[in-house]
Symmetry: C2
């Protein structure tokens, strides 16, 4: 049940809007059929939070996700028999994160939601990555907010409060939509409303998605069509 | 003739994309029929560059266009017999800048251009204003850049170079599209390509649009349909 009228829906992107596991698995399988693509992409994604933590902890200066993805990739290649890849192949593979497909419910759901709400991203992806994903998937955002906008990664409060401030609304008029409970918890502690989206195959086999779902999200929806049913009546 | 392949079209908004003079004139005429709406809106817009110059010159700290518009409005009201307006009416009138209509060629032209280029704004308008304008007019941007993004107003080089940096392209792969020669000149000095758009009635009577058009713009187009003809072949 809504705590206050919502003006803005701010969407987490990786996993919530786009299927990173499926998209990169398909691409790796096609390029390197001998590689265990499922394990490869899970390892790549698993390096993401530790890498961002290095930025948040000032061990690294401000670093874009593109560069973090590349650093993780460099560590990963020897473990998957891909040490021989040259610079162009490495760069091209890293760009796979700019070509992620949306889940099948996303475009239709966003179009319905857009008639009633301001739709924006709030993602740790950098601006060029998010713009390329939007173009690739035909995602009808009203505007794009990136960690780059605020020079801080979620769950830093500056990101959640930044959306409200820049769109000139109160924090409780913003609802974060995500399939990650830790992201939603951080948003709620800044005063935002929250919607949990089930994406059981985010990591491939549902057994790999282990984070518990909280009980105090404002809404929980199976997908964006369900979210539109809940929010557009 | 293009100097290099263009990846990104960055659009000035006030006057280039939206008809501020016509939109605000209509709104003022409807609300306050005794006011000379044409003179009123020209005076309001004329206060804009001096106000931004105060921010650029550090006489004012960082100030959003919404707040600059409001400061100018406060000075203007007594001259147009509107001193009696209360706070709610003043706020509502100031929000007219969030309800500007696009020129009639804009949506069709942008949709054609979007098939080939990344389309973004590069405007001194603040993020909420630009988002509201996009929603109001159905403008299909890939992303929105505001002076607020870079905390600097055009013609500060950080704005033009910021678009290239954030979208991860070279400056010459960005083309600024504007109906203001000074904006285009500043962009060109940062290495961007430029397209001048004729908007002869930007200030109402064409006699009020007096800035000369330079001869070294990359392109010149009558409107966005003409621009799409030039850029999409």
């Amino acid at each position: 049940m809504l705590q206050a009228p919502v003006q803005v829906l701010a969407f987490d992107v990786f996993g919530t809007v786009v299927d990173w596991h499926g998209s990169i698995t398909r691409e790796v399988t096609q390029r390197y059929p001998h590689v265990d693509a499922d394990a490869f992409v899970r390892a790549w994604r698993s390096g993401y939070k530790p890498a961002m933590a290095k930025v948040a902890g000032a061990e690294l200066g401000w670093t874009r996700i593109d560069d973090l993805h590349r650093m993780i990739l460099e560590d990963l290649l020897p473990h998957f028999g891909l040490s021989h890849l040259g610079e162009a192949s490495r760069r091209e593979l890293n760009q796979a994160w700019h070509r992620l497909d949306p889940w099948t419910d996303v475009v239709t759901g966003l179009k319905r939601l857009k008639s009633k709400y301001i739709l924006c991203t709030l993602s740790n992806g950098n601006m060029s990555l998010l713009t390329h994903l939007s173009k690739h998937g035909g995602l009808p955002w009203d505007c794009i907010f990136s960690a780059e906008t605020f020079r801080a990664y979620k769950p830093d409060p500056r990101t959640y409060l930044g959306v409200a401030e820049w769109l000139d609304v109160a924090p409780q008029e913003v609802m974060l939509v995500a399939t990650h409970q830790d992201d939603l918890d951080a948003a709620r502690s800044c005063g935002l409303q929250t919607a949990y989206i089930d994406r059981p195959t985010e990591w491939g086999d549902p057994a790999h998605k282990t984070e518990p779902v909280g009980s105090n999200n404002t809404l929980r929806a199976a997908n964006f069509l369900d979210l539109a049913d809940l929010l557009c009546g």
